[in-house]
């Protein structure tokens, strides 16, 4: 497939030398590679920051080895941040996956309601997360917010209090991103082959048995793609947290990326922020590797169950 140039090469366009043909993909990729390097360079520089004592207020910037890492790893604030980030990512991803799968299955029934709602399903997903955060911030307001009014909670109930803020943010995240899981899974469900289901229906299998034994294994790769995207994005959540609480009250919602922002941009501690980010990057990278491995296995198994 990919080496068509070689097979046709003898017969076509003798003016194109083999060398030029060989280099063509590289030449075509040069501009993209240049941009790539332009982005990789700051990344590498950021990694370099983690070994310096680089602050805007520091006159003498020099190499301090693993000093930043030692400081971060002994800082209870960092571990609190890790705990908050993981809680957020795991709970939000799980919630969105379960709700998204349910919504996809319900919309797949091709009822009239499903057909109408499918069109508007993606609206929250396409609005900027910041705007979503702003809307919910207005609705959460204890004095003037609509939610306290509708649910008759009085003006002392605060959705963004220290104990509730993280859960409220998870709800906002689910509001935005459940449709993402739903449309991916829905596309997956619709692409499944029909025959196995008809065959087992003839054999008299109930829907739950079919769901458990046929549908779920075949849908699994699609669900996993959604989970990978959601979990990775949740680990680096920033926009909605920053708009809704700026990491507060106290440190109740200070996820790793919010913390790094406050560290490096607000407090000008570039090295401190970069250290947080590099650790987060390692977490994201390792998690991605495991999830992608899982996806490969699931795809192989689903292909097997289809055969």
């Amino acid at each position: 497939m990919r080496s068509a140039d070689d097979t046709v090469g003898g017969r076509q366009a003798p003016t194109v030398s083999p060398a030029r043909r060989k280099w063509r993909p590289y030449i075509l990729s040069i501009p993209a590679t240049v941009i790539l390097i332009g982005i990789l360079y700051p990344f590498v520089q950021g990694v370099g920051y983690t070994f310096l004592n680089y602050r805007a207020t520091e006159g003498d910037v020099h190499f301090i080895g693993l000093g930043n890492y030692l400081q971060v790893f002994t800082d209870p604030l960092f571990w609190g941040s890790v705990r908050i980030t993981l809680t957020f990512a795991i709970v939000a991803t799980a919630l969105e996956t379960v709700l998204g799968v349910i919504i996809a299955l319900l919309l797949n029934r091709s009822s009239l309601i499903g057909k109408i709602f499918e069109k508007v399903l993606i609206l929250p997903l396409m609005i900027a997360p910041v705007i979503a955060g702003v809307i919910w911030k207005l609705m959460f307001n204890p004095q003037f917010g609509i939610l306290n009014h509708i649910f008759n909670l009085g003006s002392t109930f605060d959705f963004l209090s220290e104990g509730r803020a993280l859960w409220s943010i998870i709800m906002v995240d689910a509001w935005i991103y459940t449709p993402f899981v739903a449309i991916l899974v829905l596309a997956g469900v619709r692409s499944l082959p029909k025959e196995p289901f008809e065959a087992s229906a003839v054999d008299g299998a109930g829907w739950f048995y079919m769901f458990r034994r046929l549908m779920l294994p075949m849908m699994w790769p699609y669900i996993l793609v959604a989970v990978i995207f959601r979990f990775m994005d949740c680990l680096k959540v920033f926009d909605i947290v920053y708009v809704l609480t700026q990491g507060g009250p106290g440190h109740a919602t200070s996820t790793l990326q919010v913390n790094a922002y406050i560290n490096s941009i607000i407090n000008f501690n570039y090295s401190g922020g970069a250290t947080y980010m590099f650790i987060l990057w390692i977490i994201v990278y390792l998690t991605a590797q495991q999830l992608v491995k899982l996806l490969g296995r699931a795809q192989a198994r689903a292909a097997g169950s289809e055969a």
Partner: protein
């Protein structure tokens, strides 16, 4: 569509079917209420902005105020300027991504060459890398080079959002394109360049449109880059400023700005709904 046989409660008027409809209805009330509320708030008069009533006298006053920044305390937020610079930055970023990304996507989709996988993987890793890892050093570099709060600076950094999207989506389109079509053109004596522009390119036009619009949406919705690398150069940053840091908040103006800022992505998203799944999953799931 074809699946209705084995779904729970597939018959129209059974108890599970009704339960399913109630559940889906509940989700859509939850899903649409905040949007409806934002639109209502945007239409309320300043005097009504802190009320929670559903009945009010609608006015377009807030939109006028937001777009002309007339209010005395509001002159600090130039929403119109933010709209203009968001539009320029995002359009510029998408154009650069297309010009640079289409050849790379074609190369990666057509030929297996050494380094193609690592190029693609690195591009994808930008999609998942914590943005601050790049933005903090960029903040320092931009301040040094005088690129802070410039169009060039924003277009450059937005490549982080738009490039991976364009290249990954278009690669999957080029891969799906039967190579026979180009081969036929080559045998007819077309050069590879003409076979590409006359045969391959027109056939992936839907993919180009979808990836360009999606890239625009994500660039438009981006918050962190303009927050750190500009003063107020984006719609997303400007909207949060209406919430006000100095005591007084303008709920109705915030909502009006939110409606204006949300409209372009929503309109674009509805026009490419057919390609959305493939785009959102970077080609991993075909819609």
């Amino acid at each position: 569509m074809a699946r209705k046989e084995m779904m729970p409660g597939q018959k129209r008027f059974t108890a599970p079917a009704i339960l399913g409809d109630v559940a889906i209805l509940a989700w859509f009330v939850f899903s649409l209420f905040p949007i409806v509320w934002m639109v209502m708030l945007a239409l309320k008069t300043p005097a009504e902005q802190t009320t929670t009533y559903f009945r009010f006298s609608p006015t377009l006053e807030n939109f006028v105020t937001v777009l002309t920044a007339r209010g005395t305390a509001l002159t600090s937020v130039d929403f119109k300027a933010a709209l203009v610079s968001s539009t320029i930055n995002c359009l510029g970023a998408v154009v650069v991504s297309l010009v640079v990304g289409i050849p790379a996507a074609y190369a990666a989709g057509r030929w297996k060459f050494r380094g193609s996988d690592s190029l693609m993987f690195n591009l994808l890793s930008f999609r998942f890398a914590p943005e601050l890892m790049v933005i903090v050093p960029l903040f320092v570099i931009y301040n040094g080079l005088g690129l802070f709060d410039t169009t060039f600076g924003m277009i450059w950094v937005l490549q982080l959002v738009t490039m991976p999207l364009v290249v990954w989506i278009l690669r999957s389109y080029f891969e799906d394109l039967p190579e026979d079509l180009e081969q036929a053109a080559l045998l007819d004596g077309y050069s590879r360049k003409r076979a590409f522009t006359m045969v391959a390119l027109p056939l992936v036009r839907p993919g180009i449109a979808a990836s360009a619009l999606l890239a625009f949406i994500f660039a438009w919705n981006n918050y962190m880059f303009p927050l750190i690398l500009t003063n107020s150069g984006s719609v997303t940053v400007a909207i949060t400023k209406f919430l006000g840091g100095g005591g007084q908040a303008y709920y109705n103006l915030t909502a009006a700005a939110g409606v204006v800022g949300a409209l372009p992505p929503l309109i674009l998203a509805l026009t490419i709904q057919r390609y959305l799944v493939q785009g959102l999953s970077f080609g991993a799931v075909k819609g």
